[in-house]
Every structure is written in C-alpha cells, then in structure tokens.
Symmetry: C2
Subunit: 353 residues, 2 copies
DNA sequence: CTGAAAGCGCTTACAG
DNA sequence: CTGAAAGCGCTTACAG
C-alpha cells in the first residue's frame, strides 16, 4: 500500500535503499571502522536525502551506554562562597537530564592554588568522559587541557571566563569588558570631576592574561571614551587574606585622596571591611557578586553597588548546552553573555542569582 | 548466577514476582480497567517494594503516543508587546522538549476582550491534550475552565497571575502583592512627607478580583506598615486608548497636586506620553514591564522606574514544569515567584528579560 | 479478567 | 568488509 510511504525513514529504510544491512548503516552513522568507502558514500547520500534524524529513544534504549560529563570548577573557598551558585545551577541541570542517562563527575579545585587545578585535571579519566564543563581560571593550564580535549574530540563548554582562540563548544558568562565598562558608567554618577578613583585587583594569581584585567580594561576605557579626567590609580594585591589586603589598601589611601574604589571581583567585602574599620566608609565602593559577605556590607551601606552576572544560570545553561550537543547534536550560540545586574541595598532582597 | 540480581527490576521482574504477565503489570501501572483488585494490590505492592521507575525511553519508543500541550495566553496587542516575551520562553522550552515527542498548540486571546478568551478555550480539544499552560487573565472564566481540566485530570500550570484555591500543578509569575510593596518602597525614596501619590489601574476588565488590585494592595500596605502619611489617590481607567487615558489623568491632576504616579501594569507608557505632552513630566512615574514603549520613556527620563519580572522565564519554566510532571511524574515547587527587577535608564541596556 | 506474541527503532555481539 | 539475529524495556493489539 502506498500508505506505507510514511514509513520511509529510519535505519531500516536506509538499509533497504542502500542494499546493505542495518548493522552496516549503524557503522556508517557512528563513523565506526570496517566499512568500504563506497558503502559509506552510498549510505551517507541516502541519509542526507532522507534527512534522517535518529530516534534518540531507541538509541538510548539499545545502547546502554552512560554519558558522563566532567565538571571542573572552583570549590567554595574560605574567602568567598561565590562558587556555590554555579554549582547549584549545574546540579539543577544535572537532575533534569539524569533521566536521559547522563552522569556528572565533579572536580573542584582551589582558586588560590594553581596546583590543585592540575591535580583535579589529572583525576579526570578522559576515556570515560563525553563532555567537559569548565571554568578556565588558570589560562595556560586550561589551554593545555582543552588542547588535550580537542585531540580526543571531547566537546567542552567554558563558564565564568572565556579563553579565545580555542574550539570550545560555547561560553556562558559575563562579558568581562562590558561589566567593567558598566561599572565605570555607574562610577561616573558617583564621583565628581577630577576626584581620584582606585582600581583594586585581588587574586593570588594575576598574570597578564587574567580575566580581572579585562574588567579593568573596560573600566578604564569608559573613562577614556567619555573623556573624563579623573585620575585612576590601581593596585594588584596578590594575597587574599584580610591583613595583607587591608595593609595594601591603607598604603594607597595614605598617599592619595581616593573618592571611590572599584574592586574587580567578589573580594570587595574584604575592602569594605577595611574601609568600615578604618572609618573611611564614606568612600564609594563598587564590586562584584552576590556573596553572603558582600550582601551584608551592601545592606550596611559599606558597599554601594554590586555587579552580578547570574552565576547560577551560567552553570545551568552551560551544562544544558553540553547536553544538547552531545545527545541531540544541537549547536547553540557560541558566546552567551549573561545580563549584568546592578544590585543595591534597595533591591538586594529580591535578587535571586 | 547471582550476578543476575542486578536485573531485578523492570516490568518483566514485576510480572515474574506477581505471577502475572507483563501486559497485566502494564495495565496496573497505567490504571487501566480490566484487572481484579487482588491482582492490582499484589502488583502495586511489588512496584512499591522495588521502587520501580519506568524507563521513559522504552515507554516512548513503544507507545508512539504524541504528547500535546495547549498554551493559552494573550497575544501581542496594539498597546503592549509584553506578551512577546513569555511566548519566546515557551517557544524555547518547546524546542528543547520536542525531541521527546511533545507538541505545542498555541491559543492566543485578546487581553482586552473577554469573549476572545472564551473563544480560544472553545477551540481547545481537551481529548487530545495532556497538559495546559495558561495565563488566567479573566478570573471567573479561568476558574470555569480549570474546573473542566480538573474533572478530566488534565494538569495545568498558571503563569503571570495566579488563582488561589485551585488544583494547579504550579504557578510561575510575580508575587503581585510584593511587587506592589516594593514599588511603594521605591516610591518612599522619591516623594517627600505628605506629598500626594496617585495609583492608576488601566484595564478594560477590572473586576474586584483583578490581579492589578493585588499590586495596589501591596503598594498601599507598605505605606500603612511604615506609617507614612502621604495621601494616596487612585483611579480605575477602563479604556486603554490614549485619548481616554489622558483625559482621565488630566481630570485628577487638575484637582490634585500629585507628586508621583504609580501605574499598576505595562500601560505606564500611555501615562508617560500624557505627562510628557502636558509638560508635567517632572512628576515621578513608576510602572511595570520592559516593553518597547516603556523602554523609550525610561530612556527619555519620563518614566523613573520599571518593575520587571522575567516574563520570558515565566513561560520557559512554566512549560518545563508541565513537561517534568507529565513525562517524568516530577512535581516541583507549587509557587514560583520571579525575582523583582528594578530597571532604570542606567541599567536598562543590560537587561534581558 | 488475563496472557502470549509482536513490535517500537535502534545497537550489539557473533559469525563469516 | 558485511549480514542475520537477538535484545534494550516497554506497549499494543489480539485471543481467550
């Protein structure tokens, strides 16, 4: 009956048309070895002609293969609980896709310790992993790692910060440059002409590619673009403990009359603590991220603005993108910049990451 | 071999233990008729004991049933493109779950026309629908409709506004009361003691259960809670065209010295237009939603604050909740209140719904 | 009220 | 390099 035309799809039909067995079609579909080039070409032509879409239910049912994704991000540190949020998003997405046979393996490193990053990488058995979600905090080491992934054709997604020039599936995170630029825009409202502004980078690992520097660049360029004349000072603080940070800030403040401070990451609470204790809290203070400590200082008025970029959503969407690609062969946008939220003491109670 | 212990799961094992056929187990699982109570009890006991989780791949593969969800929301109207956003979120979620055999049928009604709501409902063939996502804009009519859904055991999810006391699967949308309350909190910063404030409700269909009134209530209660003495006026405008709205506002402004205006929905742009034209734009103005028109008036300074509540996310998450329930039998949170975003001319460029 | 058999669209050994 | 057969865990008729 011609009604059977509607069945003209699927592996069986491809096999029929190509005059081969279903097993051979399967081999071609999965690029397995042991098929003559001639057969490969014939089968592929038919696949294309039919616009064949595999039935993922049947596929998953038949191949009892588990899909494993490795997640490589910082753990929560003493100084900041920022990474709680991305992890929550990742866990949420993981729960959603677990019915489809996806398993997550989490590798948490210490943001203050490059060695721990390498250690965690060493723990990942790439032969058992179908995709990687990672925050490439240490540029050089990350580049080395993703090259290894590329050579094994394991897809990977960046979150939180990006490394250009690599073959990542996609990126979910802030537009670092723009978030610095927006911070400067806010700053403009807060300082008067000619008043001095201090940029503070706090991280044990500031090399010349560090993502904090992208924010700084955006910040500075706003002032250049708008032809503003405020002097901009900056310090790189390479220890993260309170004693060291406060000492560093103190040094600058003694020598300069600083009206406003811009801290390029979530460690702004450490600065707020110092300003408050030293009685210098009337200085304006802008920083990043909705951590517990930052929130407290925001509410007490010691931090004026926090810039937030949906850390939870970064994790959620990053993992989903990996899933869509690996399971459904769907490729989404490569660069996915999160909205830049401005949090003040007025709306912070209503903010959800 | 005892290694086979690991297979002790699935329909086959249940059937073996219950001494019945797999067909009978299937009947019990799906509450189909034609099984003796005794058999039902035995099988259910074993299901519970085994904590049986059906394999959704096998299920979908075997039962070629398509799942259809009906989506009942307002279409874009002349006065506001607000509903573009929820629809985008719904479409996005729909694309994600379409590989799992889910189809969407969209029924768009006119927010200004109760009749169109009923007409769209009449178009929905409930016998072909496994779930409904709806914005219950007209309370009474919605209640009638969801009662019908309940009697047919069709699950449904509310977005944008909620109706209490019904058996909805869940709600995704603003906490209306709180968004009014927050608006008042903002308002407090903007007006001086004793200055008059005007509340404006604009809708063709304001009955005494209308969701705009919940926002008004929140707004008023803030002033009561904080013991603020500002006189609060209010008008209900039951036509949405510019001529009518402007006339209504004009009437009030001539008789009262109003310092600030609070419009309880996205039609704030109509008010902004009037205030601007009449040269009264120095009055403070707060309203709702990130529509094209509102954005323009926000940028020009005629609207001071917009309250937004993630319309796209409402649609996306609402549909996903329906999917999780119908396909995976997963029940999520019942009440899902969206974050309340405050948009100003400063951060509006970075806001994404 | 119940069972036996076929089938959903793939993949996986195994045999050649 | 290729094919025939069995099987993944369910559901669907059909027969009784």
């Amino acid at each position: 009956m011609s009604a059977k035309d509607s069945e003209l799809t699927g592996v069986k039909e491809i096999a029929r048309r190509a005059n081969v067995s279903r097993g051979t079609v399967d081999r071609v579909i999965h690029n397995r070895t042991g098929v003559s080039q001639k057969t490969i070409d014939i089968v592929n032509a038919i696949i294309k002609e039919l616009d064949y879409q595999p039935n993922i239910f049947a596929r998953s049912l038949a191949s009892k293969k588990q899909v494993v994704f490795a997640v490589l991000i910082p753990g929560v540190s003493l100084e900041t609980n920022y990474w709680e949020e991305p992890l929550l998003g990742i866990t949420e997405a993981g729960a959603e896709i677990s019915p489809y046979g996806i398993t997550l393996k989490k590798y948490l490193y210490d943001l203050n310790d490059k060695k721990s990053f390498l250690e965690q990488i060493a723990l990942i058995d790439l032969s058992t992993v179908q995709g990687v979600l990672l925050a490439p905090s240490f540029i050089e080491e990350s580049e080395h790692f993703v090259k290894k992934l590329e050579s094994r054709k394991i897809p990977y997604v960046f979150i939180n910060s990006d490394i250009q020039g690599h073959d990542s599936l996609s990126y979910f995170g802030p537009d670092l440059y723009k978030s610095g630029y927006l911070s400067a825009h806010l700053m403009k409202y807060l300082v008067k002409e000619g008043e001095e502004i201090l940029i503070v980078n706090i991280s044990k690992e500031i090399d010349n590619q560090h993502h904090l520097l992208r924010k700084e660049e955006g910040f500075r360029n706003y002032f250049i673009d708008k032809k503003l004349t405020n002097p901009i000072l900056k310090i790189d603080i390479k220890q993260t403990d309170y004693a060291y940070v406060s000492k560093s800030i103190e040094d600058v403040l003694q020598r300069h009359h600083v009206a406003a401070v811009f801290v390029t990451n979530s460690r702004v609470s450490t600065v707020a603590k110092y300003l408050k204790r030293s009685g210098a809290a009337n200085r304006l203070l802008i920083g990043f991220d909705y951590t517990k400590e930052n929130l407290a200082y925001l509410k007490s008025g010691d931090i004026d603005f926090l810039i937030c970029q949906k850390p939870r959503e970064q994790g959620y969407k990053g993992l989903m993108a990996l899933y869509q690609f690996v399971v459904h062969a769907k490729v989404g946008e490569k660069n996915n910049f999160m909205p830049i939220d401005i949090i003040t003491s007025e709306n912070c109670d209503f903010y959800i990451n």
